[in-house]
Symmetry: C2
Subunit: 330 residues, 2 copies
């Protein structure tokens, strides 16, 4: 099938760009030094390619853990998030084919891990992003209570998410060091083999963790590109120009096919005016015609992918594969 034959909107993944991104990350952080985060693509077919480079994965939801195990990718999954009902995770462990490590940051999430049948945890440490994570000075005591409750504590994690899009790499490195000092202090109290953190934005400057939870590097988006990261924009959203007026045109991609929290998408060679549910209105630099196909670059990869049922893998104008975005939902 040709790209032109696809129904729009359609998620396109450039096979060569994706392959290059995976290889570049594997060269920078080989094997277990990267624990790819599947929340950025929610696609087990893509995760299988990452599994050729890295032995473990990071997930954000129970559904993602279930899907990864079902796809045979459950050898070492870190659910880097807190959950209050871990029973579905315990059931995965009982199936015998999975190793799942769960983040905890409170006595409540510890109790949920125990009640759900979880055996291994990491202590999630607040390193500066106001979200989840126990205060660093309280991490050791929480680990002690987890061990007393029969859990294995594999180490710590801490996500410096507020630094991912810092445009200046030196600034990003300086602040990352400050955040990771907190994580290392917590690790000194907690123990365990895992010091997990980081992401695509800090993969090159976070030299303190022993595994980086990078996800966006595989497909990329305009926000990460603007932050100066070297990975290629492998993901676009194919659109059809459905209307052309004097000074602007409308394409059939909008709020239901593009994550908007990082702002408008980019239309190469055009100026985006605004998006509505099913449309992007843009001023084209060169004349466009009704029926033209364009490839729109999303500003934020993760919520964009979550809006699509499938990705089309393309080589030039050829569609070489179709992947289900099979880890959506909760």
């Amino acid at each position: 099938m040709k790209v032109h034959d696809l129904t729009t909107p359609a998620l396109l993944v450039d096979a060569a760009d994706l392959t290059a991104n995976l290889a570049d990350m594997a060269a920078a952080l080989p094997g277990p030094r990267c624990r790819p985060h599947v929340k950025a693509h929610k696609t087990t077919a893509l995760a299988k390619l990452q599994a050729a480079h890295h032995p473990g994965f990071t997930v954000a939801t129970i559904r993602e853990a279930e899907g990864m195990v079902a796809a045979g990718l459950g050898d070492d999954i870190l659910l880097a998030n807190e959950v209050l009902d871990a029973r579905r995770l315990g059931a995965l462990l009982d199936s015998g084919d999975a190793r799942i490590t769960l983040a905890i940051d409170s006595d409540e999430t510890l109790a949920a891990a125990v009640a759900g049948g979880i055996r291994e945890v990491v202590v999630d440490v607040n390193v500066g992003l106001p979200r989840c994570g126990v205060a660093p000075e309280k991490a050791g005591a929480l680990a002690d209570r987890a061990r007393a409750a029969g859990l294995t504590v594999r180490g710590v994690m801490g996500y410096e998410g507020h630094l991912m899009l810092f445009p200046d790499e030196a600034e990003r490195a300086k602040h990352t060091e400050e955040c990771m000092a907190k994580l290392l202090a917590a690790h000194a109290d907690v123990g365990g083999e895992l010091i997990s953190g980081g992401g695509t934005g800090t993969y090159a400057v976070n030299t303190w963790v022993n595994e980086v939870q990078a996800g966006s590097y595989a497909l990329m988006d305009t926000a990460y590109t603007a932050a100066g990261l070297p990975f290629r924009q492998a993901l676009t959203v194919l659109a059809t120009v459905i209307s052309v007026s004097d000074g602007w045109a409308a394409a059939d991609v909008g709020l239901k096919s593009l994550g908007m929290d990082h702002g408008n998408p980019t239309v190469p060679g055009g100026q985006v005016w605004f998006c509505s549910d099913e449309h992007t209105t843009f001023a084209p630099a060169e004349p466009v015609s009704v029926g033209d196909r364009i490839r729109v670059l999303p500003a934020h990869v993760d919520p964009t992918v979550a809006l699509h049922e499938r990705m089309q893998v393309v080589e030039g104008e050829e569609v070489v594969d179709t992947w289900a975005v099979d880890l959506r939902g909760w």
Copy 2:
């Protein structure tokens, strides 16, 4: 099942509020004077309730048209958008169970309608929103060409979408009148029984169209509530507080469960700081505990619904029904 037993995040629809919204719209715009737009909820189970009040529906995508026909709701569907490949719509017509009217605004979309087997169209007129729609003075000639090509032209449509969230109703009414003057001028040239337009934001002030394409009124969101509309906030996203720190808490709803183009969601009794993929960080006014359930109000209903597989219909703390959001995708 109780609300507390649901996996979070979960879309909740308050049955009483929804019923009131549907009744209020039906009282204001009975029967064919409202042509409910299903893009706002993408749920045939909800559309069936609207069908008790109104004979026709508006859709934005071919997929929505297909799903509505499959659900037995295809008696009079207006696809209020331009498409370049209408073959799937023609196939629906050939099945014998559907009446589908398609918007056209150019010779290319006219040709696509003919090629796809469409029989009835409306001329989409640009009434001021820079998106789709032919210039009003060119609408009559396009209708003539459509009729010459064998199509039935049922009338005109024009969407004053840029006015929907004007906070002042008098201003909204004044600008709506200006927009609708363009639509009526076009209708004088085009003819046909349909003068279709408007939406939830202008349903009360757009007295020029003979059918209003309102969708958001059924479930509502904080943006429309802020615009002073009388409908009730029937839709919330159920979340679990998964982490509590000194000064803030994190709930398990974020960019993948909330449409963000109208900004942050609202946490009743709290101040939202920011959303990330799976989290909303907020400052609670009263202390909250890990494990608490909260109901978050989305800022924009349409893209929020598009992120969920299902809606839970609730009466108080009881889940009385589960509806598939079955019109997603393209």
